[in-house]
């Protein structure tokens, strides 16, 4: 599946410190891999070699001087194309931002670069992060590295695929309703959605502001943790980022998992769950029990309502956030005789079908006469879903579920039926609405060789507990490659 050895963050550090390879040579090795594989995967939209080699050379200079290296020195990573990068084109997978070059960096990008990462380029995604298959990108679908005729998941499909294919050591994605966890599951890598407010959203191009989060992908839990350690924490440029202290995650995750209470909600194992996925996740839970965890059955009665509430709240917020694309200040402008005509032409030509569908659904839900029936009701149901989690965390330390009801599906299989596509988000949108952290980690493969993901939720701002369980699963043998 991947070309050559897969690098990890600790592997990069050891190789740089022992001078087996320079940061510049490492970046060049990754660009050579990208050159070989990207045409068939379509995972990178834009490469940023100038920026990458500039950073790699700074790392090499620091090594030559014998300086102490920052935590992620020389680590080649990729960034989802909804996250702003100064001087590097940022399209959001949309025609409306085809030539948009941000004048500033997102806080997460700035912090990672300060920690030494080398940004190779920007990854393909569903347009404005709206989708679960990457088929909604204006620049064509991403192909799953495990099976090229299948989707990588979405919306952060490119960020998951480049890590799975060894075209980056780690990457940044964004998760609004499952957009990190589901592609991580379908591509067989680890992907973390942090607590809402744990990571600054400054520079993240908004889809649904009460749900959007930035988070990391990597091939193993320690590398996910290393990225989180750098990007977590309060940022005065994002008033919703929380002033909650950041623990020493790398230390916390090595604590033994024996005695942890794992909640298994029956609502996530019912109708619609693929039998092979169920089998694998059950085997994963059994492994955790053998490692000393206590399995506690749970009921989370509002699970079945989460998709409906999510698609009202997310589209309502999107319809408001995307009003800014009107051809006036940046992005595409299609001329019109009047101002209104210009707005309309620009948005008609610039947005793809899924984005238009969601803008219309959100506009409808917020429009006079429907606000109470849809938006306000959905917000009340969101409270009920959040209470399910709060109640569960009175009894258990973490919640373990499947990430996606099925493994990677074929490109084109669901694209004609938007509702069918939305229903595939059933196990991820719950945690998104509640604002809790969640990770997807590899949990074996189906007989056809498609990866299965196991999802772990924890209480607000307890990423270390989620990661500790995930790391414990790895140490117990896991079911990854």
């Amino acid at each position: 599946m991947s070309s050559g050895a897969n690098w990890t963050i600790s592997g990069v550090r050891a190789a740089l410190q022992s001078k087996k390879i320079s940061a510049h040579e490492l970046a060049a090795e990754f660009y050579a891999r990208i050159d070989k594989r990207n045409a068939e995967l379509n995972a990178y939209l834009t490469l940023s070699p100038e920026r990458a080699y500039g950073q790699a050379d700074r790392v090499d200079a620091a090594i030559a001087c014998g300086d102490t290296l920052p935590a992620l020195a020389g680590v080649p990573i990729a960034v989802k194309d909804v996250i702003s990068t100064r001087g590097v084109r940022t399209t959001c997978g949309s025609k409306i931002l085809e030539n948009y070059v941000p004048p500033y960096d997102a806080t997460a990008v700035e912090r990672l670069e300060r920690a030494g990462v080398v940004i190779l380029g920007k990854t393909n995604c569903d347009e404005f992060a709206m989708g679960g298959s990457n088929e909604n990108s204006a620049y064509g679908p991403v192909h799953n590295p495990h099976a090229l005729d299948r989707v990588p998941g979405g919306s952060s499909g490119g960020s998951a695929a480049v890590v799975a294919a060894g075209l980056a050591v780690a990457s940044l994605g964004t998760d609004t309703g499952g957009s990190i966890r589901q592609p991580a599951s379908l591509c067989g890598v680890s992907g973390l959605m942090p607590t809402y407010g744990r990571v600054s959203r400054y520079g993240l191009i908004a889809f649904a502001s009460s749900l959007d989060k930035i988070g990391p992908f990597a091939t193993n839990v320690s590398d996910v943790t290393s990225l989180l350690s750098v990007i977590a924490g309060h940022d005065e440029n994002d008033s919703t980022s929380a002033a909650v202290p950041v623990p020493n995650y790398l230390e916390e995750i090595e604590k033994p998992i024996g005695g942890l209470r794992i909640g298994v909600p029956e609502d996530y194992f019912g109708e619609g769950l693929d039998l092979e996925v169920k089998e694998k996740v059950e085997a994963g839970i059994a492994l955790l029990e053998r490692a000393g965890c206590r399995r506690i059955p749970l009921k989370m009665p509002h699970t079945d309502y989460a998709v409906a509430a999510y698609y009202i709240i997310a589209t309502a917020e999107a319809s408001s956030n995307l009003a800014r694309y009107d051809g006036v200040r940046y992005g595409l402008r299609v001329p019109g005789a009047t101002l209104t005509e210009m707005y309309r032409q620009t948005r008609e030509k610039g947005f793809g079908p899924e984005v238009k569908r969601r803008i219309m659904l959100g506009t409808y839900a917020l429009s006079s006469g429907y606000y109470d029936a849809y938006y306000l009701r959905a917000q009340s149901v969101r409270t009920l879903v959040a209470r399910d989690f709060a109640d569960a965390f009175q009894k258990v330390d973490v919640i373990v579920t499947p990430t996606s009801p099925e493994p990677a599906f074929k490109i084109g299989e669901k694209s004609a039926d938007p509702l069918k596509m939305y229903l595939a988000d059933i196990y991820t949108v719950t945690g998104s609405l509640a604002g809790v952290p969640g990770i997807s980690i590899p949990c074996g493969k189906t007989r056809a060789g498609l990866p299965v993901g196991m999802q772990v939720f924890g209480p607000h701002f307890r990423e270390e507990r989620v990661l500790q369980l995930a790391r414990g699963f790895e140490k117990a043998g896991g079911f990854g490659d």
């Binding site: 509002h302 940046y330 409808y364 009340s380």
Partner: protein
Amino acid sequence: MKISREEVLRVAELAHLGLTPEEAETYRGQLDSILGYIDKLTELDIANVEPMAQALQAGTSGEKHPELREDVLRPCDVAEPVLAAAPGAKSPFFRVPKVIER
């Protein structure tokens, strides 16, 4: 039927989206089926449930309110790079088609 063709066209107008007649019909059908599914929210009794207006409400997690920063002036010299990205701009202005008719 949850949503009519007229409502689809009205919503598109509110959202400044141009639609062809075929698109209007496709979206009507799709929105109809999505709204039909969303109707399941009416099964729940929400009479005494407070709507969740923020992702982290006081009491759901015990976190402190994010610190608000001091209201101090800071340099923000970005007019030129911002205008450079604007279609048809003429510094120091954005430009749009004429709005006032006479």
